[in-house]
Symmetry: C2
Subunit: 270 residues, 2 copies
């Protein structure tokens, strides 16, 4: 089993480690930055690095493109041009619609593992990064690539789940991108108020992802701007309703609202 | 050293455990609900329970009122009426202005440890709950009570910090109450969208406190409604600015905003 990983940051490095550890795969790594390839090799994230993208994907059974979302279409197309005709090509980007719109090759199946950390870089990569995590797949339809990716993703500990690209992006706007926006708003607000202030546990948890990997996240925000503006508008409407309830000192309404949140959280599970 | 704890939930129970463990104090517990007193006794949170508030505070060197903020003034006044003239009386409420406005006895010094958990109840109490946590104190001025409370709070592992009650409440609106509001908004939004949806790590962290202890939190929201409505208004203005930047697809502005968040977070520390 030969697996190529294109892009060697936190997620790419973790895919490489997991593939080596869990699949005993021959993993070939490549990054557009040769220094990143060398660093990942030095850290023994995989056994061999490639000097070119074409060299990395030659003879591969599967290719994972682990680059910022804006760079995925071009890298995926180049990988598809050089990969064997039976190779499954996927990505790990946080948005799926624009990527799926840009690539029509049936060997390509979009992917997105719901895993990560506030730290970026291959030095934080872990072979168990995907244990128990949902790994969304956005196939054009059934096919050999989907079958193979489901197997690989399961084998490295994740739970493959098929989803429509647009539904995925709308969901991520609420479940991931909006929490990042909230985190950035909270740190900005406290910094403006009192930068030396003590922080409680709720603030620390809510702002863990503030300002994380700015290059990657600017791309995600821009790519998913339609769904994210909708999610922000929805959040503003909800905040305004809470604000009005507070201003009216309506204790019963606040209690109902808190109880609904407790019920929602229980229903959503963890 | 004799310490009375009035109110035996998560925080009261933890104060009792910490006082016994770290100060070798004789701790007397009392709760308005006799069943709660019995349960805390059964869990060996303290050595002896009292049948009445007056009995609990008799002969005490210090009293901690660990009740929801709305109940603090009355309990504190009753404690002050029955406690020795040299006794220091404090509370652990999340808001301080209305409590300090309601109590004029110089033996009373408001308090608020920045600690807690999403779970409530004495069964989750821990003797190390306050290790390293800031513990705000709002004295009317210098005095024997302040001196004693500084010593006690330090001895159970926390860092005592004096603050003006109004400044405290404004700070908490941003650093604690707003993150709770955001958490409630996020779960409501996802529940409305897709209750069966997978959650990523950022969503789980951001919603850890959603709907936590609804009775306690409704009281906090109502009590701090002036500062919290200001904080929500400020957040809405910031969200609207991000939304407009997104709608304009202004990548450079989004990158600057993310970088500012990273810088703010680094400056705020963790």
């Amino acid at each position: 089993l030969r697996i190529a990983v294109l892009g060697l940051g936190l997620i790419g490095g973790s895919v490489a480690l997991a593939a080596r550890e869990r699949l005993a795969a021959e993993v070939i790594g490549w990054d557009i930055d040769p220094a990143a390839t060398r660093e990942a090799l030095a850290r023994e994230v995989f056994a061999s690095g490639a000097g070119s993208l074409a060299g990395a994907v030659a003879g591969a059974d599967a290719v994972f493109v682990a680059a910022p979302v804006g760079a995925v279409p071009e890298l995926a197309r180049e990988a598809l041009a050089h990969a064997p005709s039976s190779c499954a090509v996927s990505d790990v980007g946080s948005t799926k619609r624009t990527i799926m719109d840009a690539i029509t090759d049936p060997r390509f199946v979009g992917g997105h593992p719901l895993a990560g950390a506030e730290a970026s870089g291959v030095e934080h990569a872990r072979h168990d990064m995907f244990d128990g995590a949902v790994w969304y797949l956005t196939p054009v339809g059934p096919g050999a690539s989907l079958t193979r990716l489901r197997e690989l993703v399961s084998a490295i500990g994740a739970q493959p789940l098929e989803i429509d690209p647009l539904a995925h992006d709308r969901l991520m706007a609420t479940v991931s991108h909006l929490p990042h926006v909230f985190a950035n708003v909270l740190v900005a607000q406290l910094a403006a108020l009192d930068a030396a202030a003590a922080q409680g546990p709720s603030f620390r948890d809510a702002t863990r992802v503030a300002g994380s990997n700015t290059a990657v996240w600017s791309g995600i925000y821009i790519d998913n701007r339609d769904a994210l503006t909708d999610a922000i508008d929805d959040a503003i409407a909800r905040l305004r309703a809470v604000r009005d309830t507070l201003a009216a000192a309506d204790r019963d309404a606040l209690t109902s609202w808190s109880e609904q949140a407790a019920a929602d959280r229980a229903r959503l599970g963890r």
